[in-house]
Amino acid sequence: MIDSDTGVEFSFNRVAAMVRRYWYLLRSSWPRILDLIYWPTVQMLMWGFLQVYISQNAGFFARASGVFIGSVLLWDILFRGQLGFSISFLEEMYARNLGNIMMSPLRPTEFLLALMIMSIVRLSIGMIPVSFLAIAFFGFNLWALGLALVAFFVNLILTSWAVGIFVAGLLLRNGLGAESMAWTIMFLFLPLTCVYYPVAVLPGWLQYFAWALPPTYVFEGMRALVIDHVFRADLMVQAFAFNVVMFAAASFAFLKLLQSARVQGSLLQTSE
């Protein structure tokens, strides 16, 4: 009989070990925990007050109250989901622990699953308190979106993981020289996925690119829900289909970059 814990098969035990490792790190450092809550709170307050100001002066925004704040909160799920994934990975490089990890029986798929779990843990620490602050300050209840919120969340977190997996591959291949990608890559999605405005605002040729990105469907879906009170299930299904393709492509790229890192010898040299 094959014992999954000895490395031959996938092991949830090893995934749990890695999650425990990141949890120990997180709880040992209050600045790390504070950082998870700080920026989402600042963003939510800034955009929330801006929306209050605009809605007092423009008829459309008065009707569409909650669009900005909803966009901010959903954008943070996308952005913080990827950061939560990538930062846990970077912690291994900062700690010079990657050699120990890569030499252990931990499989790449187990490592990635542990990073996904930590991305949700970190996101929850940051976003749950902020969602309640949004109710207290602006009367915007993210949780009232119900099943729509589940669809938005699943699609956004899948995109964030796909990007995180691709960045992890770049970090393995190029060392900390690729660190800035972890912090900035998601900002490329900010204008293209139309977080704060409808896709129709973009020039025609750019709309093709926008519709190739899963989060675009989520932000359009959110606006349809908040402004027109319609849940666009079709948009969520299309987002999911694009996510499956994106996730598969990112996983393939990760495995190729890992293979290349073994050929280049960069797993032992993870500095710049």
Binding site: A16, R20, R21, A95, N97, L98, M103, S104, Q264, L268
Partner: protein, 252 residues
């Protein structure tokens, strides 16, 4: 049964080139189970690259490596739980306590009865009083002992050590060597030790492989090397090899 399957480690015509430059250039050797072998060589000789290929961290350009009969790196997950390593190029996470670090790695290596194993290793390596201290707060010698504890957690059959006593004071280094000797004789493990420290290799190793510019320059027992080069210490033998003097010239 062929030699590859009976050897703990079998390296055949191993080559690693980086952008056309050979870091390891066609080396071959076999280590018998339970042996302890020193891999000697100056900076850039190819020791770390050789060890990295044995661990499966680096893919060879050509040639083969098998560990306990398993081909690396293709089938590495079939054997990684039976090996372990220690290297100055890696650290344990500094913010985690020694106990947390060891328990995470114990779980990764599927160690049974983790608390008992950590307790016995801590007692053996004189780490008990540091178990609940953050790893980053330890001295260099204490950190080396923690790394050694991590390397021994799964009672590896193959132990790869890359300069295990680098940056340690002579007393601590000697202490580490005695623990390694004890582990090897108690478990019958195969140990491959890359080192710059000649006295360490002389004391621990029953066989010495000397590398230079990616090649194996010599491979024998310490006693036979000393006799062949007509030298008193391995350090002198090493200098002869490093400066290109053959044993026939050196002995004159």
């Amino acid at each position: 049964m062929d030699a590859q399957n009976t050897s703990a480690i079998a390296v055949d015509q191993l080559v690693k080139r980086y952008k056309g430059v050979a870091a390891v250039d066609g080396i071959s050797f076999r280590l018998t189970p339970g042996s302890i072998t020193g891999l000697l060589g100056g900076n850039g000789a190819g020791k770390t690259t050789t060890i990295a290929m044995i661990m499966g961290l680096v893919t060879p350009t050509s040639g083969t490596v098998t560990v306990l009969g398993v081909r690396m790196p293709e089938e590495r997950y079939r054997v990684l739980h039976r090996m372990n390593f220690e290297s100055p190029y890696v650290d344990m996470p500094m913010r985690l306590t020694v106990r947390q670090n060891l328990s995470v790695f114990a779980q990764l290596y599927a160690v049974k009865d983790i608390d008992e194993r950590i307790g016995s290793l801590a007692a053996e390596l004189d780490l008990t009083e540091f178990l609940d201290r953050p790893t980053g707060k330890l001295s260099a010698g204490q950190k080396t002992r923690v790394s050694l504890a991590k390397a021994l957690l799964n009672k590896p059959e193959v132990l790869l050590l890359d300069e295990p006593t680098a940056s340690l004071d002579p007393d601590t280094a000697d202490w580490v060597r005695s623990r390694l000797e004890r582990y090897r004789s108690a478990q019958g493990a195969t140990v491959l030790l890359a080192s710059h420290n000649m006295s360490e290799v002389e004391r621990l190793c029953e066989r010495v492989i000397i590398m230079k510019k990616g090649h194996i320059e010599d491979d024998d027992t310490p006693t036979r090397l000393l006799s062949r080069y007509g030298r008193e210490t391995l350090e002198e033998v090493f200098l002869d090899v490093a400066r290109g003097r053959r044993h026939s010239e050196a002995a004159q």
